[in-house]
Point group: C2
Chain length 236, copies 2
């Protein structure tokens, strides 16, 4: 936890004072071994970041005086569209996207996505949020990405995608492409990443017709949780 | 498993025929649901890659006729030096380095590495090998990275590092640096990545004296398992 994320309900009646208990309190006590007077990085979900100073500490909670006066790091100008990966890989992929600063994520179906993945409990809003928060805590960010589910490929591509990619560079990660993924891109990007085994030829063809360029990252096929940091670090 | 890795002991008395049982047999039967006549990608650990065709299949093993006639993908011209991360992160970092094509990895101590991490069972050679093999299977590679442990920072830096970086671009990932990590590098690189919280100022100073340039990847501090794919995809 590089940043302690708080929400409006953590504030006490004293202005600028917050109270933490349970998970965050336990973590600060057991891992950071905090004491009265210690200063920590704090961020308000959806708001500013700053510092907090511990002013009281007992067996069940702690209180901090906080000052939130800085903007969180700028978002990445990228919309990420992932073919839904298997649940344990999805968790890491969401964390990776969140830590890298993506603010808009679509999880979509495609021919090689196993239908059973759509039944995973990891897709429950609070489970998704959990992974996104871990990413924000790591990156000292406060702005939660929006995640949208699209369990049908065709309507998403036919009805939404053209509007989504307007004004962006539309790329689809495709190991068989002849074009390497560009670097130092100076414009917003829409990036699609396929499932294990990739998008099928027919899907790639449809995306190409919409204006997508298939790009590769070398000879090696990365799993999506590694492809996300790799592609994003290369693009910007 | 994009590639089935085999070793000399998998060969039968018939030339070019192999027999698989246990883990790999179960995986092929249960996940890939293979049948007689199916073709799969095969690689000999330390050797070539090619195709195998299933010629027999029973309740406990399968046999394949194989032809290994292609070189594995080229290695990444990079030596990776990681301050030892916590065990679960170490596993993912080793997999990431292996999948990206790193062939030489040093795990070193530094001021902010918790001493207890050196006692983890994940550091046993067979546990390390397990993670590296997962990376090779993903990348369709056959060449195992070498992993060396250096539980003392000072002797490693004083006695080995200068020789290691000869002829390479020596970089140390350091979020506070003013220099962004370069891209499209055309020479071999030695890359050091610090522990949670980073290398301390004194360590960075010592590395700088040896010729290392501290570089950053933007405002966001990545955990090492994500920093590995991000930095490597950006560098090359």
């Amino acid at each position: 936890m590089n940043l302690i994320l708080i929400s409006p309900k953590d504030f006490t009646n004293t202005p600028s004072r917050i109270r933490l208990d349970q998970r965050r309190y336990n973590h600060l006590r057991d891992i950071h071994r905090v004491q009265i007077g210690d200063e920590l990085s704090i961020g308000l979900i959806g708001g500013c970041v700053g510092r907090g100073k511990i002013v009281s500490l007992n067996h069940s909670c702690l209180e901090m005086d906080i000052r939130l006066n800085q903007q969180p790091p700028p978002p990445l100008p990228l919309t990420l569209i992932l073919a839904l990966p298997r649940p344990n890989i999805l968790k890491r992929s969401l964390q990776a996207a969140s830590v890298m600063g993506v603010k808009k994520i679509f999880l979509i179906h495609s021919a090689r996505v196993e239908k059973s993945f759509w039944l995973s409990s990891v897709l429950q809003p609070e489970r998704i949020r959990e992974q996104l928060l871990l990413g924000l805590e790591q990156a000292k960010d406060t702005i939660l990405p929006e995640v949208e589910l699209r369990p049908f490929f065709r309507p998403f591509v036919d009805d939404e995608l053209l509007e989504l990619i307007r004004g962006t560079l539309p790329l689809v990660a495709h190991p068989e492409s002849q074009f390497p993924c560009p670097s130092s891109v100076q414009q917003p990007v829409t990036l699609m990443i396929g499932p294990e085994g990739g998008f099928i030829a027919h899907e790639i063809e449809g995306l190409r017709r919409l204006g997508f360029t298939p790009v590769h990252l070398g000879d090696r096929v990365l799993r999506v949780d590694m492809a996300v940091p790799a592609l994003l670090a290369r693009l910007f």
